[in-house]
């Protein structure tokens, strides 16, 4: 719940509501990936992660 509240405040502050549909789709795909993989390994380039 705390996360959702923070995220809502963040979107409001940054006025990035247009990101919401993209986030939902990406998160959905991401969740599938989470279940599809055994571990979350960060690659060597740190920039994006």
């Amino acid at each position: 719940m705390e996360f959702l509240k923070d995220f809502w405040l963040f979107l409001k502050e940054r006025k990035k509501f247009w990101l919401v549909p993209m986030i939902l789709i990406l998160v959905l795909i991401g969740v599938l990936l989470v279940f599809g993989t055994s571990g979350a390994a960060a690659p060597f380039i740190y920039t994006l992660f």
């Binding site: 990936l33 979350a40 380039i45 994006l48």
Partner: protein
């Protein structure tokens, strides 16, 4: 008011604790876990910081994390969106990491803190300043200035990759930012990658390699022209635009498209550990020259925007001490302060300071009687006599204990003058990537063989790598064309002309190894191939023991400087405990180890049973 700062989950995790604005302790997690650039949550570093401050987690006003995860996630999504459909492979790897952990950073931090000790989760306050604000705060607040321009340059934080701020009193105002994917740090890292070094750790090797290039040759001029016309667009204010056709870091798992770079520069990417050839060195010096031009322009812009006489710097690029020396030579500012832990580890300290002065609005008082508020960057753990003796017992080690430090300094100065290499472990461990005389390997700078011996027999690293001098602050002008201070080894300046030996005929055509064999000055082991040196001025007020040792060496030899390199072997974090130091003594061809007042002579130690398998413990950087 005690505040705990944390940097973690990317690289160089660290923790720092401040009390009423005073820096109490700071340390990188890698020193405890013995895993270089450890990105994990700094459980050990937090434990140490709390212990040093005599505090528990329940006593902490706020725990501060060094960047804003949601803003970073926003960048991640917008980048994938912007580059789609390119970037699927990177997306497949990164999104699970975010969904599993990083999006829920508050919970993750609270959970990890439970590994430190039991505490009240409900009362713990968490704060998240921006990445570049953390860097700015780490540079400005410990500085001796009440008004300063602040320049931070690194790979990337959330969106910002560089920033110019104005620090005044307790406030920091952001004036200008350069944003992802355009980044000076990532540009330099791209060349680090193409030249066969590891991204995020090999950048300083590239900087050390650059002087082997022939800076005024047609080849280097050609490379510079290609970089400026094809890879980047450099503006007068120092902002750069990176042509993304030539970079893949935004969405890929590599820094650059190898084939496109091969076509542009005329040779393939150098494989790691492959021989270094002249064209590698020439490209190295080309990107170093371009980087210097960019940071000098940024510094000029910072001066223009703030009108201040003082400049503070942080961010990974601020560890490029050659560029720092060039900024100084330009005389843009009168005074400089560079955060010794300029990389992400320093963010732990910066975010704690930012919370104290900005979030809590506390008054800032500068103590002008000190060089700065970093305490010489000696902010880590100290080894007690008991710890030293326990380690010695564990290995049945033989040692001599001196009652007087002055006597010890005289004896060690004698060993140094005889060409011995000594592991020097004293007082509190340094915070930041540089060993500043408390966890250092030291030797005689006059000794021609010292550079090769240290590189090949002690550090097990590439022979071209230069070494830095520790010089008595008051003697700096005798050896170098520089009379200011450089307590954190973050400035490169030339060795005095009168001390140099001229280049032999045809020197520019020599190969890398032949160049290395040229005796460059009367202090050859710290004089780099271009007659420069990365200077550490040693001040009695910040490190009396180290100052006394070099003074004893001066009494014996007439030279007030020695070679100083970090106390580790290649790929290993700098030593932390007496046991780490003893292992390093026994695994290498070091001659003596001095821990506190205890001296371990290598020849007197029992046979070391371990084979060469220990080298596998450390991933080569």
């Amino acid at each position: 008011m005690k505040i705990l700062g944390i940097s973690a989950f990317y690289h160089d995790s660290a923790a720092a604790i401040i009390e009423d604005g005073v820096i109490v302790a700071a340390a990188q997690e890698e020193r405890f876990t013995r895993k270089k650039h450890d990105p994990g949550f700094p459980v050990n570093a937090v434990k140490y910081c709390l212990e040093e401050a005599g505090a528990t987690l329940n006593d902490i006003e706020a725990v501060v994390f060094y960047d804003k995860p949601l803003l970073k996630f926003e960048r991640l999504l917008e980048t994938y969106y912007g580059f789609a459909p390119v970037g699927v492979s990177s997306f497949v790897i990164s999104i699970p990491v975010w969904i599993k952990e990083k999006m829920f950073l508050k919970k993750l931090i609270r959970d990890e803190l439970e590994k430190v000790e039991d505490y009240d989760r409900n009362t713990l306050k968490l704060l998240f300043p921006e990445h570049h604000l953390s860097h700015s705060a780490s540079a400005y607040y410990p500085s001796p200035f009440e008004d300063a321009a602040i320049l931070t340059i690194d790979g990337v934080g959330e969106w910002a990759t560089a920033s110019i701020c104005h620090g005044k009193g307790k406030d920091i105002t952001v004036l200008k930012e350069l944003q992802f994917p355009h980044s000076v740090g990532l540009l330099y890292s791209a060349f680090t990658y193409f030249l066969g070094f590891r991204v995020n750790s090999g950048e300083y090797k590239l900087m050390g390699l650059a002087p082997y290039g022939n800076a005024d040759s047609a080849a280097v001029k050609g490379y510079i022209e290609k970089i400026k016309s094809t890879l980047i667009d450099l503006k007068e204010d120092g902002s750069v635009w990176l042509n993304q056709k030539y970079f893949t870091y935004a969405t890929g798992l590599r820094m650059v498209p190898d084939s496109r770079w091969e076509k542009l520069f005329g040779f393939p990417r150098r494989e790691s550990e492959a021989p270094l050839e002249q064209h590698h060195c020439d490209l190295g010096v080309a990107i170093q020259i371009v980087t210097e031009e960019i940071v000098i322009k940024m510094a000029r812009e910072a001066k223009k925007l703030t009108g201040s006489d003082n400049l503070c710097m942080a961010g990974g690029v601020a560890l490029n001490c050659v560029a720092n020396g060039k900024i100084q030579k330009e005389n843009i500012f009168k005074n400089y302060f560079i955060q010794p832990a300029a990389g992400d580890a320093g963010g732990a300290l910066g975010c704690a300071l930012a919370a104290y002065y900005i979030h809590y609005g506390q008054e800032r008082k500068v103590d002008h009687s000190k060089l700065d508020a970093m305490k010489g960057s000696y902010l880590g753990p100290e080894s007690s006599d008991k710890e030293i003796e326990v380690a010695a017992r564990k290995y049945n080690a033989k040692f001599t204990k001196f009652e007087s430090f002055d006597e010890l300094a005289k004896v060690v100065a004698g060993y140094l003058s005889e060409g011995n290499v000594i592991g020097w472990h004293q007082g509190r461990m340094e915070f930041g990537p540089r060993a500043l005389g408390n966890r250092s390997i030291i030797g005689d700078a006059r000794n021609e063989e010292m550079q090769k011996k240290l590189n090949l027999k002690i550090k097990y690293r590439e022979s071209f790598r230069p070494f830095a001098p520790s010089v008595l602050a008051e003697d700096c002008g005798e050896y170098f064309e520089y009379t200011g201070i450089s307590p954190y080894m973050l400035l490169v300046h030339p060795v005095k002309e009168s001390r140099r030996n001229p280049y032999p005929e045809g020197f520019k055509e020599f190969g890398l190894k032949e160049k290395l064999y040229h005796k460059r000055s009367d202090i050859p082991s710290i004089t780099h191939i271009d007659y420069s040196a990365r200077i550490q001025t040693v001040h009695r007020e910040s490190n009396e023991k180290y100052w006394k040792l070099i003074s004893a060496f001066k009494q014996k030899t007439g030279y007030g400087l020695i070679v100083n390199t970090s106390f580790n072997v290649r790929g290993e974090p700098i030593v932390c405990t007496p046991e780490d130091s003893y292992k390093c003594l026994m695994r290498t061809e070091m001659d003596f180890l001095v821990v506190g007042n205890y001296v371990f002579n290598k020849t007197e130690q029992p046979a070391w049973k371990e084979g060469a398998e220990w080298k596998l413990e450390y991933v080569l950087d």
